[in-house]
């Protein structure tokens, strides 16, 4: 369905205003527990009813040498009293646990933003490791910002001294002290964190108590300390939201639940074959805990075995699913072709990361679109869909399963490191409202490659008497599936495989315009995790009266049937992508439209301001 509104929608009218949203970045050594701090702050913020988006940004090294710039781990959260769709451009508040964290993150801070620094870590040695000649807290290099510096380490040690921990153990609670202060600053409830600590350290109650003491001490410090009036308490009102039950969710969580839902709707047990790789592994971790849903997880010896085992499981009647990131998907390429040739259902999840080769394992990018659509030998079409946000990954997972089983085809589902790790509030779907698409296995009177109205072949499980047959990667004759190199057969089967994937377009919604009008001066066309910044940028530009619309494509292969006609209704088309211009090329190829690239290849999400500037330039 196409939505066409020239005037501001209620959503636009309530768009995030700077005054109503705050961006906080926690940064420290990778051993400082910044991801945990951020995660708990996120939970408290969600429970306070704010809309939010997060951006965990951590190094590839598990424990990089302490105090170094490349060992800095950061967690950014944008929260507010109106709709939030990105993790925010520039932080208002930077919590820097050591000199390296300050060094790496200070440039991103908003002019006049607040720095909270732990002076206990600003030793000569740590300053040198971070590459500072001078202590920045003691010269005027931070004059553009407000700086609150005090010895968090010493205050943490003081707060936990009654628990008799070693110095090293006691200092581990620094992150909880800091979190306590942050919770005070934004008027957040401490109880969820206390509950979480008690559960996490159920077997080590003294550690739980020490952390709680540190948390309370940090909170009390905010309440009582005279810190120059620079740190003040903010209260951010709850964001307006559709009534209903909410939770926070990361893309890896929603995707795993979506796969479970998809398997249930198909009425199939799920087989998940995977090999650990950043940032895709959380999916394997989540699913391996859900065996009661009829899920078998298999940590294979390599990426190839991961997909081949999933293909074997699909052949035997399970829903085969495999998951990886770009380098692993490359290894799976030949086997994806086997699934194309044998026409078996398979869901392949690619949590994209910066490439090529090993690239930037922990950084986000969307540069595997060509690989998804074209990256196999031979003419090997497969459907490709892309999730736009952590919450959207749930629906996309169900959609991927539906297409795989209805069209007997491998389906590539694209997410990225940002979606996999970032959290956002999620209105919990009602599982009873999903439409089932139960699979029916063939039982008799059918040929292996006899096609139905969709162009799909029957799914015949081994174990079915009377339907014994052989399949494989060699080209075959139509209908019977017997080996055949006949020129006519190769031409016909190639066309049948293409036709089947084209037919998927009959079962997907038409492309909508998610903000703006169905024609006009400029369309910003995106896919995947660029949704947030494109949407906010278009919203801001429209508020300023600019004729710009936002189109976000979920179904990339095949494209929705109306997409070409829709695009032709705009004078200009810009495609913001975190790659060198892949969707842009596909649109030009398929629709002969003058789509222009806007590329960011930095391992970081777009900032709203960057896209807003591109809109201004295009409409100038």
């Amino acid at each position: 369905m196409v939505t066409a509104t020239q005037k501001l929608t209620p959503v636009e009218a309530t768009a995030a205003d700077r005054a109503e949203a705050v961006v906080v970045r926690f940064a420290g050594d990778s051993g400082d527990g910044m991801q945990l701090t951020g995660g708990q702050f996120t939970l408290s913020t969600a429970l306070a009813g704010n809309d939010l988006a997060t951006f965990p940004d951590f190094p590839a090294e598990i424990r990089a040498p302490q105090g170094t710039t490349f060992g800095v781990s950061a967690f950014q959260i944008n929260f507010g009293s109106a709709a939030i769709e990105t993790a925010g451009d520039a932080p208002d508040v930077l919590v820097a646990m050591n000199p390296a964290a300050l060094k790496v993150n200070v440039a991103a801070l908003k002019e006049g933003g607040l720095i909270i620094a732990d002076t206990g870590e600003f030793s000569a040695r740590n300053l040198a490791k971070a590459g500072y000649d001078d202590n920045p807290l003691e010269n005027d290099s931070l004059a553009r910002y407000k700086v609150i510096a005090f010895d968090i380490s010493a205050r943490t040690l003081e707060a936990v001294k009654e628990f008799g921990l070693s110095n090293k153990e006691a200092l581990r609670s620094k992150n909880m002290w800091t979190l306590g202060l942050a919770l005070w600053m934004f008027d957040r409830d401490r109880q969820p964190v206390v509950d979480w600590l008690k559960a996490k350290f159920a077997k080590k109650p003294e550690i739980a108590e020490a952390n709680i003491a540190a948390l309370n001490a940090g909170h009390a410090y905010g309440e009582t300390a005279e810190i120059g009036g620079q740190v003040r308490q903010h209260h951010i009102d709850p964001a307006p939201a559709e009534p209903g039950l909410y939770r926070t969710v990361t893309g890896a969580e929603s995707l795993s639940i979506g796969l479970v839902a998809g398997a249930q709707l198909a009425g199939l047990p799920m087989f998940f074959g995977s090999y650990p790789i950043t940032p895709a592994s959380p999916l394997l971790h989540h699913l391996s805990r859900l065996k009661q849903f009829g899920i078998t997880t298999f940590q294979a010896e390599d990426e190839i075995a991961a997909i081949c085992s999933a293909i074997g499981a699909s052949y035997a009647g399970s829903l085969g699913v495999t998951s990886s990131s770009g380098p692993g998907i490359a290894l799976k390429g030949e086997a994806i072709g086997l699934a194309v040739m044998t026409e078996l259902p398979l869901v392949i999840v690619n949590s994209q990361r910066g490439g090529p080769s090993t690239g930037l394992p922990t950084k986000t990018e969307q540069s595997d679109l060509y690989q998804a659509v074209y990256g196999r030998n031979g003419d090997a079409p497969i459907p490709v869909i892309a999730a736009r946000s952590p919450a959207d990954a749930y629906d996309c997972a169900i959609e991927a399963v539906r297409i795989a089983v209805q069209y007997m085809t491998p389906v590539m589902l694209l997410t990225d490191g940002y979606i996999a790790n970032a959290a956002e509030p999620w209105k919990v779907p009602d599982a009873s409202s999903h439409v089932p698409f139960a699979v029916r296995f063939a039982e008799k009177d059918v040929e292996p490659y006899q096609r139905d109205a969709r162009g799909s072949r029957p799914w015949i499980k081994p174990g079915t008497p009377g339907l014994e047959h052989r399949i494989g990667g060699i080209e075959k004759a139509p209908v019977t599936g017997h080996i055949s190199y006949t020129p006519e057969h190769h031409a016909q089967m190639t066309e049948e495989r293409f036709a089947k994937v084209r037919n998927v377009a009959d079962s997907i919604p038409e492309q909508d315009v998610c903000l703006g009008s169905t024609s006009g001066r400029l369309a910003m066309v995106g896919w995947g995790s660029t949704f947030g910044p494109i949407h906010q940028a278009v919203r801001r530009a429209r508020k300023r009266g600019m004729d710009v619309s936002h189109i976000h494509i979920r179904h990339i292969a095949p494209f929705p049937k109306n997409l070409g006609a829709l695009l032709k209704g705009y004078d200009k088309i810009i495609v913001p992508e975190m790659n060198a211009g892949q969707l842009k090329t596909m649109l030009r190829d398929q629709f002969l439209v003058d789509a222009r690239p806007m590329n960011k290849i930095a391992g970081q999400p777009f900032m709203i301001a960057e896209i807003e500037a591109a809109i201004e330039e295009a409409l100038a």
Binding site: A46, Q292, D302, C308, S309, I311, G320, H482
Partner: protein, 336 residues
């Protein structure tokens, strides 16, 4: 499948025309398998042959059961998924020396160490046949081939010792045209777990008679040691046997009546390794079941864990969606 109906070898042959070179050892293996399956009482509907790529991997097309001709080296990985998804299926893997030990060596190793219940038949012809004769990972040093015109210089892999090293719990050897092959296949099928069977298979076009030094009728008695559990390791018509040399801690050839002849204990892994690696110039080739010592199978452990950890839990999607901390929003969004 109606169990009353007794199947024959013919019932296991598919309608496909067999397309190996005339005289290829694969024909003999195909016949041996088609003859053995009726004796095992196997059900074609419940039997799956999974293969990789190579001459041997055409095998599933010629069996009137379920069959999956996969991609090069990956039969073990596909078979693992098949068996985990449906442990009731009787899974046979058909592979070759290049498929299983070169491009697919990793999967072979992991299938064996996991001990997936299946029969893995490795057709070893010491050559790449389908790609027209290049040397393979089991080719002997000095093998002249299109890719090694001056002779290969790398040392070959020994399939049986590779399997033992990977942790296989059943390792056997047979010869394509030898009448004892069905007995080896039956033993492999009877073994619960991964049963690794190396079959010496003659490639008549690119490596003809490479196994002649121990398969030729004239030398067979002298150069073949057929092992039987609980029986003395005798060959050359009982005139010779295999004994253990205490001074060198290795095997030696002894007189059949010397009283030093070892009795074959298939569960003795150390002796199995020595048998697998007996130098061809001084010893016969050990054939039959070299090693068998059953252990719990991978798929049964997976099924058991899936069952145990699911006990008392309900597959409740609504509850899964609502897990963790949730909050209720009651007010309508404000409209300005």
């Amino acid at each position: 499948m109606n169990e009353q109906v007794k199947l024959t070898a013919k019932d296991w042959a598919s309608e496909q025309e067999v397309r190996w070179c005339p005289g290829c050892g694969d024909y003999a293996i195909l016949k041996a398998v088609q003859r053995t399956l009726p004796e095992l009482g196997s059900d074609p509907a419940n039997t799956v042959f999974v293969s990789g790529i190579g001459c041997s991997s055409r095998f599933p097309y010629y069996m009137a059961s379920y069959g999956f001709h996969t991609i090069h080296g990956r039969a073990c990985a596909v078979a693992t998924g098949v068996k985990l998804a449906n442990p009731e299926l009787d899974v046979w893997i058909i592979t070759g020396d290049g498929d299983a030990l070169s491009i697919g060596g990793n999967h072979t190793m992991h299938l064996l160490r996991r001990n997936l219940d299946c029969q893995l038949l490795l057709f070893n012809n010491e050559i790449y046949g389908l790609t027209k004769g290049q040397y393979s990972p089991t080719s002997r040093v000095g093998t002249r081939s299109p890719s090694t015109p001056f002779g290969s210089v790398d040392r070959p892999a020994l399939p049986a010792s590779f399997a033992l090293g990977a942790g296989a719990r059943f390792v056997a050897r047979g010869i394509d045209v030898n009448k004892k092959l069905p007995e080896v296949l039956k033993a492999a099928h009877a073994h619960k777990g991964a049963a690794f069977v190396e079959i010496f298979q003659n490639c008549i076009v690119y490596n003809d008679d490479v196994f002649g030094p121990f398969t030729d009728r004239k030398v067979a008695a002298e150069k073949q040691l057929w092992l039987e559990a609980g029986e003395k390791m005798l060959f050359a018509g009982g005139e010779k046997g295999i004994g253990f040399d205490q001074s060198t801690k290795t095997l030696k050839v002894v007189a059949g009546d010397s009283g030093e002849v070892l009795v074959h204990d298939p569960a003795n892994r150390a002796i199995a390794l020595l048998l697998a690696e007996m130098p061809a110039d001084l010893f016969p080739v050990a054939l039959g079941v070299l090693y068998e010592d059953p252990a719990p199978t991978y798929e049964s452990a997976v099924v058991e864990q899936n069952r145990a950890v699911s006990e008392g839990k309900v597959a409740d999607l609504q509850a899964l969606l609502r897990q963790g901390q949730t909050w209720q929003v009651t007010k309508e969004p404000r409209v300005e």
